[in-house]
């Protein structure tokens, strides 16, 4: 029942242009500007520069700034701005094929490595032969046989079986993974495509893993 409800909701989200924000409840005013300024200063002062580090990662784009300002509960107008700005970032694979190879998608869904930096314990390059992992199991269930799944995001078990693989559904799933904030402002899910964690072709492989009737997700 719950899964069905989520499915319907997701489709509604996919098909309506209205703004949606991740946070529930009342929108709060931003924190004290003096404290906020100190927080920004602390970030600037607290990370090590030099070899193996990358201080450019501390930059927040306009969307993160807005989410931080409102603690992930932006008012409707700001949420709509975020949705529009993030939607404009979405890129599609060459040739436009949004359903790729589910078997590769399965690997990417589970793989958790990539992008860890610093001098203490950076990711070893040899573990990243195919690029970064998507680390989806950190937050979402999928294959009914996998018990080590996180719960920050909704369960995606039987995702395709419950919702079908219509053209809209394929497009929604691809776009949602590429940039969840195109639909849900300040979503807690990383902007996988936009932030360069996954390439468009890899996202298409994961879409196939979630939607294909052959995939274990839908067994």
């Amino acid at each position: 029942m719950d899964a069905l409800k989520t499915a319907t909701l997701a489709l509604a989200l996919a098909l309506t242009p209205a703004a949606h924000a991740a946070g529930k409840g009342k929108t709060q005013a931003g924190p004290d500007p003096k404290i906020q300024a100190l927080a920004a200063k602390f970030i600037e002062q607290s990370f090590l520069p030099g070899e193996g580090q990358d201080l450019s990662r501390l930059q927040q784009d306009d969307t993160l700034k807005a989410c931080n300002q409102y603690r992930d509960q932006p008012p409707e107008k700001v949420a709509a701005e975020i949705n529009a700005r993030e939607r404009a970032t979405i890129k599609y694979p060459e040739g436009g094929k949004l359903m790729g190879d589910w078997k590769n998608g399965e690997k990417l869904y589970a793989a958790g490595f990539g992008m860890r930096i610093g001098r203490i314990e950076p990711d070893r390059p040899e573990r990243q032969k195919g690029g970064n992992g998507g680390n989806c199991y950190a937050c979402h269930a999928a294959d009914p046989k996998e018990v080590a799944f996180g719960t920050i995001g909704p369960s995606l078990m039987h995702y395709g079986k419950l919702r079908g693989a219509s053209e809209e559904m394929v497009k929604y799933t691809y776009e949602k993974i590429y940039n969840p904030q195109a639909y849900t402002a300040c979503s807690q899910m990383p902007r996988m495509g936009h932030n360069g964690i996954l390439r468009p072709e890899q996202i298409a492989d994961i879409v196939a893993y979630l939607l294909s009737p052959e995939s274990p997700v839908n067994k």
Partner: protein
């Protein structure tokens, strides 16, 4: 206690071995704790002992011990000091947590330079390294507050400011994963894979449960870890550059967490996955 291991601790370590071998099957922190009812069996005690020796030894260019270090309750008073950290220190005119205060004393009393002290902050579990001197020292000081209630002062305006900044930082999304601390620690009953996450922002009991057990022996590392390491670890998972030891961001976050955990009865060294 003095220098050599007590019989009780040696016995504890031997008794613990089978429990640790079961490590993979014991999944939650609670299960670990249940397996380790005898506090003396915590292998972290060996590190604490080493910390005590190092603390009392004359070291550094000034050939001095740390016995006159003031952790907030007067020079040389260790009992209950950690339970009231972070706090504002007049002599440095800033808020310091346990580990940053330790650095201050090692520089001022013993004459070390911050650069040499920070050269190796954490032992590398992958290389089977033993705990660093800093880790051992911090653990020794912390354990002198075992059984006491966590009670960071929050009286001085700078203490309150630090906590407020910590709260903002806790909710600040930053880095290529768009994570903030509250992404993972901002809702009740969530987990990453199988690891349970506390809701520190919304649930005082979760903050207390966590804050009462640090420094902690991490079975998966085979090492005693402190809060500086835990927060470095979470920020590493956020794909950020290495956060500096005792940096304002870490002290602010620890101030926030310690205030959220206020009232928890310390049970240290803790033990967890």
């Amino acid at each position: 206690m003095r220098g050599a291991l007590s019989c009780r601790q040696l016995a504890g370590v031997v008794l613990l071995a089978p429990a640790l071998a079961l490590g993979q099957e014991l999944k939650t922190a609670d299960e670990y704790r249940a397996a380790l009812q005898d506090k003396f069996a915590n292998p972290g005690n060996l590190v604490v002992e080493r910390g005590e020796r190092l603390f009392k030894e004359k070291r550094g260019p000034k050939n001095a011990s740390l016995e006159q270090c003031d952790f907030g309750k007067g020079p040389g008073v260790l009992k209950g000091a950690f339970a009231e950290l972070p706090r504002y220190f007049k002599d440095t005119d800033r808020v310091e947590d346990l580990e940053s205060r330790l650095l201050t004393c090692m520089v001022r009393l013993q004459g070390f330079t911050p650069e040499e002290l920070k050269k190796k902050l954490f032992a590398d579990q992958r290389a089977n390294e033993p705990n660093t001197d800093l880790e051992a020292l911090a653990a020794y000081v912390a354990v002198q507050s075992d059984g006491m209630k966590l009670n960071p002062p929050m009286k001085h305006p700078k203490e309150r400011e630090m906590r407020a900044v910590g709260e903002v930082l806790f909710h600040t999304r930053i880095g290529p994963m768009d994570f903030s601390c509250s992404t993972c620690h901002g809702q009740d009953g969530k987990r990453i894979r199988l690891q349970e996450l506390g809701n520190y922002a919304g649930n005082r009991a979760d903050a207390q449960k966590t804050m009462r057990t640090w420094p902690t022996y991490r079975v998966s590392h085979g090492l005693l870890r402190n809060m500086q390491h835990r927060l470095w670890d979470c920020m590493w998972q956020m794909r950020l550059p290495d956060v500096d030891y005792g940096s304002p961001m870490v002290v602010a976050l620890i101030s926030y967490l310690a205030d959220r955990g206020r009232g928890a009865v310390l049970d240290i060294p803790g033990i967890k996955r």
